[in-house]
């Protein structure tokens, strides 16, 4: 394996890993605050990509504006989902809530298939053009660089929001202890809605980033969902730095293995990485001792 193949594999691994991490952030956000393992996160992203391509773009907006408005639209959809699917019957346990998101995932997928399935796959317009930059022998496409840049920007934006704004701090409080947060005057209900809005907007971003790289079809995010869950578990399910590290480890390991051996090693390797991490640190890489008790 020569150096430039190695570098190319590394870059594509980082790009993929960043996307796993971003989707994983959305999963961890919802899981830690509302206790829902959201299996619909992937289909929400796919739906976002279709919504932009089929509904927002034909209106005649420019690409950047269409991008932004799709993310906002999906955020609103997240709130709707929360009110219709998650909020009724609050006495239900976590398992039942996870099953509801399974149903939601099925619903979004079948809507995609019904409306847009017959003509798939579609070529999705890229924000970043089709050129490439070369650094010495390493060639990076604009798509890769742009995807990485947007993913990093999105993650930074999210961390700033989560750590330094009032709604973000409210989310952290609810994640730590719902009852105490409510006693301190945090509106738990409103915070939950915010969580769904933010997480769905993040997953829409992932969908819009993945669609130009692979063609847009109804199974767009299916390979990503399990990887994002895996990244979240590697990171300890409650930790945001953890899920980012988990996603990057997973993405890089997969890309290196694919370059070194064959594409067939990818799945077993991802599974092996998960098992190895859980063997060494059962509560995840970044589990603090305080949260460990809760897991």
């Amino acid at each position: 394996m020569t150096l430039d193949i190695l570098m190319a594999a590394l870059v594509s691994g980082i790009v993929n890993g960043g996307l796993y991490a971003l989707l994983g952030i959305a999963i961890v956000l919802i899981f830690s605050t509302t206790g829902v393992a959201n299996f619909a996160q992937g289909e929400l992203a796919t739906f976002g990509a279709f919504a932009m391509f089929m509904i927002v773009l034909p209106v005649g907006l420019s690409l950047v504006v269409a991008w932004m408005s799709t993310v906002v639209l999906l955020g609103i959809l997240g709130a709707v989902v929360y009110f219709i699917v998650i909020r009724p019957r609050p006495e239900a346990d976590h398992l039942n809530l996870a099953v509801r998101t399974l149903g939601l995932s099925g619903l979004l997928h079948s809507i995609d298939v019904l409306k847009w399935g017959p003509n798939e796959p579609y070529r999705f317009p890229s924000l970043f053009g089709s050129g490439s930059l070369s650094f010495g022998t390493v060639v990076l496409s604009h798509d890769q660089l742009g995807t990485l840049a947007v993913a990093v920007a999105m993650a930074v934006l999210f961390f700033a929001f989560f750590n330094h704004t009032r709604p973000g701090l409210a989310m952290r409080a609810v994640a730590m202890n719902r009852e105490v947060a409510a006693l301190q005057g945090v509106d738990v209900q409103r915070t939950n809605v915010m969580v769904w809005v933010v997480a769905t907007a993040i997953s829409a971003t992932v969908g819009l980033l993945v669609a130009p790289i692979s063609f847009l079809d109804t199974g767009l995010m299916q390979p990503y969902l399990l990887k994002a869950f895996t990244a979240a578990i590697i990171g300890g399910m409650y930790s945001f730095p953890g899920v980012v590290a988990g996603g990057l480890i997973l993405g890089i390991a997969e890309a290196l293995a694919t370059a070194a051996a064959s594409i067939h090693v990818r799945e077993p390797l991802a599974f092996a990485v998960l098992l190895l991490v859980l063997l060494l640190r059962p509560a995840g890489l970044f589990a603090s001792s305080r949260l460990q008790r809760r897991v």
Binding site: R89, G103, E267, P282
Partner: protein, 322 residues
């Protein structure tokens, strides 16, 4: 199910109630023998999914182990049986038994991480395992690659317009239900429930957690393997896609939709996931949407599953006829 169990229930004693239930069950199981061929085919599928779901209820309902690895067991059941038949020329029952042993081994392997992981992490690990099995059979030539395996035609599957095969599936389902009832009400069930309620306390009372959880996985793997073998036989063609991780999610949904409070919950859930897509098939792609909507409605309105719905109905009927 018919109207019988709802009206005559207010006594609440177990013995007459279970007798009525048993009668209804037998009637429902016998009915497909006299139905059209298509309906019998659907009923056969129902029985197969019910076997899988009854088996999955043991780790989920008793031990609170959320396993998404059921499609792996079903895959092993189908593929191992097919390979034993095609390569070894083994008779079908022996091949099914061999597949069952192999699936039990896989189940024991999957149980290994169950002590160290929290419920959710274990769910994702088991889902990863079923994805791994699915990807693997698509790679190797031995397992037919992406095309899958074609089984030879067996006379007994098509015999008497499918009646014989339906009877076999229904018989196995009843057997499975009885075994699961024994497991649930016996020592194993008690130990499993104790380990779910409080693992530490269960251990201090002398429960060997590892052994018990392994047992739960192995039992569910046996059910999964039998269901997988039957599913392969019913179509006489084993496509890898039929055993994708989606199948785990479907069977899991059957258990949850049916409700876990009673042993027959998964049977009802299996009926839901088999029948509703078949009923809505006439409107083609719209059917999937209708199915998903009903799915969301049931799981949102009745967190306890169809069982909760039925007991709610019964309570209302009971009030009207005091």
């Amino acid at each position: 199910m018919g109207d019988v169990p709802f009206g005559s229930q207010e006594a609440g004693h177990t013995s007459p109630r279970s007798r009525v239930l048993l009668t209804v069950l037998v009637l429902v199981l016998v009915a497909p023998l006299f139905a059209t061929g298509y309906m019998r085919y659907v009923a056969t599928l129902w029985m197969i999914y019910a076997i899988a779901a009854v088996g999955l209820q043991i780790p989920i309902g008793l031990a609170a182990i959320y396993s998404f690895g059921h499609s792996a067991f079903m895959l092993v059941g189908a593929y191992a049986m097919a390979l034993a038949i095609m390569l070894g020329g083994w008779p079908v029952p022996i091949a099914m038994l061999a597949a069952l042993v192999l699936a039990a081994l896989v189940g024991a392997l999957l149980a290994l991480p169950s002590l160290r992981l929290s419920g959710f992490a274990l769910a994702i690990v088991t889902m990863g395992a079923s994805s791994l099995f699915f990807q693997s059979v698509k790679v190797f030539k031995l397992t037919g690659g992406p095309q899958g395996l074609f089984l030879p035609e067996f006379a007994f599957v098509k015999a008497m317009d499918g009646r014989a095969f339906y009877a076999i599936c229904a018989g196995l389902m009843m057997l499975g239900l009885m075994v699961s009832h024994c497991v649930e009400s016996g020592r194993i069930g008690r130990v499993l429930r104790a380990s779910a309620a409080n693992p530490l306390m269960a251990q201090s009372f002398g429960v060997h957690l590892m052994r018990v959880r392994t047992l739960a996985f192995v039992i569910s793997a046996v059910y999964g393997s039998i269901a997988g073998s039957l599913l392969g036989l019913s179509t006489s063609y084993i496509a890898p896609e039929a055993y994708a991780p989606d199948l785990s999610i479907q069977v899991f949904a059957a258990v949850m939709i049916g409700g876990m409070a009673r042993a027959w919950g998964p049977v009802l859930g299996a009926l839901f996931i088999v029948l509703i897509p078949e009923l809505t098939q006439s409107v083609q792609n719209l059917g999937a949407i209708v199915y998903a909507l009903i799915f969301i409605a049931v799981s949102t309105v009745y967190p306890g599953g169809l069982q909760q719905m039925i007991s709610g109905l019964r309570a209302r009927l009971g009030k009207r006829v005091p």
